[in-house]
């Protein structure tokens, strides 16, 4: 979208200042490269689905509210919807209220590029972090001190005896 606007502005300026420099020579290289792509991207987005309005989005989200308490909780959604709601849960308490949903929708409407970034998944925010651990993968070993500082625990030693449950967390 941004590239399109730059393109239009450039074209407008060129049109006003000179008559000869029509066409692609005078345009800055970035918009030249980006414009066919962004046009393609936007065209695809527009033809794919109608631009959702906030009311419709809110309604769609709250169709998942099975117990009708005005909030969406983890057990009411599944799959990709979970990821979607997790992003809008601003205080990260596992509950999505109508206010959080409205704020989240408004933010997305203002910044449509955000949608693309999150759709790319790992290439977005989490680019620099190692791949998430999955079931079946080896648990990374560690050696940490206990709270009283008197003993050290190594995962490899623990789990050789019994399976180990790990809860990661903090106070807040």
């Amino acid at each position: 979208m941004k590239h399109l606007i730059i393109l239009v502005v450039c074209a407008g300026l060129l049109g006003h200042s000179t008559h000869e420099s029509l066409g692609q020579d005078s345009e800055p290289p970035e918009s030249k490269q980006a414009s066919p792509e962004s046009k393609k991207r936007n065209r695809g987005k527009r033809s794919g689905r109608a631009a959702p309005n906030p009311q419709q989005m809110l309604k769609r989200i709250f169709e998942n509210d099975r117990n009708g308490d005005g909030k969406i909780t983890r057990d009411e959604v599944s799959g990709r919807m979970t990821m979607f709601l997790e992003r809008m849960d601003s205080n990260q308490d596992g509950i999505l209220t109508k206010e959080e949903a409205q704020t989240g929708i408004a933010a997305r409407m203002q910044n449509p590029n955000r949608r693309e970034k999150s759709a790319r998944g790992k290439q977005g925010r989490n680019r620099n972090q190692p791949a998430g651990l999955k079931v079946g993968e080896a648990a990374p070993n560690f050696r940490l001190k206990s709270l009283d500082g008197k003993s050290e625990t190594e995962l490899a030693a623990l789990r050789a005896e019994k399976p180990v449950i790990l809860f990661f967390g903090s106070y807040t």
Binding site: G94, G136, A139, L144, S146, R159, L166, G169, S170, Y171
Partner: protein
């Protein structure tokens, strides 16, 4: 968590690992308990131990707790921030690796509980749902 601990502590080891604050009052996301309690980002190991102790006392936790180092090594290795549940089998592989955050915690607990029930009943570790060969490095 405590309930699960008390139920299964004879068959499995439970450890809480205290990592960096999820909602520190001076951190990037101060909403949540951090702001109201004035819990700020840990400046040193002693700080972190202190907040961990506060958690134990306030919630009456009996589970053994380990403290992650100030380089957040374990947190990074496990991608655990802000909360996460894991179950490590005796062969070292993960039987449960929940999604991060509050959305993944409850299902993670449930999966762990189911695994432990089966383990306690049969004395054998349940087989992994997916074959171990399908690690990301193979793809």
């Amino acid at each position: 968590m405590e309930r699960m601990y008390n139920k299964f502590k004879d068959v499995a080891d439970f450890r809480m690992i205290y990592i960096r604050e999820a909602h520190a009052a001076d951190g990037p996301r101060p909403m949540g308990t951090g702001k109201s309690l004035g819990i700020t980002e840990h400046k040193n190991y002693a700080d972190r131990c202190q907040t961990a102790e506060m958690l134990i006392n306030d919630r009456s936790l009996t589970m053994p707790m380990l403290i992650d180092d100030m380089e957040n090594t374990t947190n990074q290795a496990y991608q655990a921030h802000p909360d996460r549940v894991f179950l490590v089998r005796t062969d070292g592989r993960l039987a449960v690796a929940a999604e991060r955050g509050p959305w993944g915690f409850a299902p993670g607990l449930k999966a762990a509980e189911q695994w432990l029930e089966a383990f306690k009943k049969t004395g054998e570790e349940p087989a992994l749902a997916r074959p171990a060969e399908q690690t990301p490095s193979d793809r």
